[in-house]
């Protein structure tokens, strides 16, 4: 049984393996503030603990990000979702999917797990209201067969938060 949120996965390519090993080392030397990588021997799935930044709506709250890497990482974006319970945020759906352009159309191989984490924390920190996206229920219902957020055609309506 694979987890429902796992995309059908092929093993990492050689390039992906090399790159992730380097990212892992870089993370150990210089971890992004507010994040803790839960070390496992699984290079293809990272689980990362996020602490809400002090002075923001999410201060003292801890969430978990699950990052799955595709065969052709970093040419393809990783799949990044919040494990339940996902933070209440206007761009985060209750199933953990995150509406953030760099995870989809705007991904580039110049980005790293670390830079993605920083973007997600910044998205949390700039939120002024704790609520779900307006279309949460419909979206989540449509995803119930385990669809990856990478298969959603996202429409990034707003860059305020």
């Amino acid at each position: 049984m694979t987890s429902s949120s796992a995309p059908s996965r092929k093993a990492l390519s050689k390039i992906a393996c090399n790159r992730l090993q380097k990212e892992m080392v870089e993370w150990q030397v210089n971890p992004p503030a507010g994040f803790k990588h839960k070390v496992t021997d699984n290079l293809q799935r990272w689980v990362i603990e996020v602490s809400g930044a002090p002075g923001t709506l999410y201060a003292n709250e801890i969430y978990q990000l699950q990052v799955d890497f595709p065969e052709h990482y970093p040419m393809e974006a990783p799949q990044v979702i919040f494990l339940p319970p996902a933070p209440l945020h206007p761009h985060i759906y209750s199933n953990g999917h995150i509406c953030l352009d760099i995870l989809y159309d705007s991904w580039s191989p110049a980005m790293t797990v670390s830079s993605v984490c920083i973007s997600i924390l910044s998205m949390l920190s700039s939120s002024t209201v704790k609520q779900r996206p307006a279309d949460n229920d419909r979206y989540v219902k449509n995803c119930r067969n385990g669809r990856s957020p990478k298969e959603t055609r996202w429409w990034f309506h707003d860059d305020k938060v």
Binding site: M75, P109, A110, R153
Partner: protein, 301 residues
């Protein structure tokens, strides 16, 4: 639960096509009835269907291009006639938005394979080293691009014959199916645009209302962003490689006769022998055919 079943089936069939369930999030491409766009989307569909062969770069006589437009616009057919007086063949590249870089890299390696031009290899290696320094000084983490650069340098060595690892034309073709052959173009291009941001700024402003840095982040570095004049100029300058782009569209010229426009991107600066400063006119050894939204490779007579 008919719906549910149909959903599952759709998922397994069309992983990367827009999902009709998500009309609210769906970004519909601008629909128009331009034959070129239609052909491109059918190319997409074909390519998706043959996932295993998706990186193949088939070689076809130029007449295949005419066949493609048989029922299309007469201007295009006239232009293809003009093209066929100068070019013998076309090599089609996958239409996924990275076709410019892939066409360029393949064409470049093929040129080295055929010319065995050691001096050119030495020259481009120096440029690649320069690009590496540029990216470093711009603050890119080295591990994000070093593998791509190393792979390109390795590929350069292998197209030069006389090494144990030398490869044939067939091997180059099969290697080109490997995505990684082209994936450092975006880095080189972005690095060059940012390094010379004052030069590129006016052009970037013509395309977007953001800054040069925003442009690089949103329209150069992501995979699958279409390449425009700015990208081609930057890549050509950074690597010191002239590129000819032939434009096949339905525009016609005032004089009545049909001609096919092309533009030569000739690198500037440096002590580059390919640079525009030299007395003789540079004839680019890379020729790409641009149809709105897509680049293929053209072979001159």
């Amino acid at each position: 639960m008919q719906n549910h079943e149909a959903d599952g089936e759709l998922d397994s069939l069309t992983k990367s096509l827009p999902n009709p369930d998500f009309d609210d999030w769906a970004k519909f491409p601008d629909e128009d009835d331009d034959d070129i766009m239609h052909l491109n989307s059918s190319l997409h569909a074909e390519v998706e269907a043959e996932a295993d062969q998706s990186h193949k770069v088939p070689f076809e006589p130029l007449s295949s291009l005419a066949t493609e437009y048989q029922s299309g616009s007469t201007i295009l057919l006239e232009k293809i006639k003009v093209l066929s007086q100068q070019y013998v063949a076309i090599r089609r590249t996958r239409g996924d938005g990275n076709c410019f870089y892939r066409s360029f890299m393949f064409s470049y390696l093929e040129h080295i394979l055929e010319s065995q031009d050691q001096a050119e290899v030495d020259r481009i290696k120096a440029n690649v080293e320069q690009c590496r320094k540029t990216l470093q000084s711009l603050g890119y983490a080295e591990f994000t691009f070093e593998d791509f650069f190393a792979l390109f340098l390795e590929q350069l060595e292998t197209v030069l014959q006389g090494n144990e690892t030398s490869m044939s034309h067939d091997e180059l073709l099969s290697r080109s199916r490997d995505q990684s052959i082209s994936d450092y173009g975006e880095f080189v291009t972005s690095g060059e645009i940012r390094k010379r941001s004052e030069f590129f700024e006016p052009f970037v402003l013509g395309l977007t209302n953001g800054t040069v840095e925003q442009f690089c982040k949103s329209s150069v570095e992501p995979m699958g962003e279409e390449s425009d004049h700015v990208h081609i100029t930057a890549l050509s300058d950074a690597l010191g490689v002239p590129i000819r782009v032939v434009y096949l569209d339905r525009s016609s010229c005032d004089s009545g006769g049909v001609s096919v426009n092309h533009h030569d991107f000739v690198p500037v600066g440096g002590d580059n022998p390919n640079a525009s400063g030299s007395s003789e006119t540079v004839r680019p050894f890379i020729t790409l055919l641009y149809r709105p939204g897509h680049y293929d490779i053209l072979y001159p007579m």
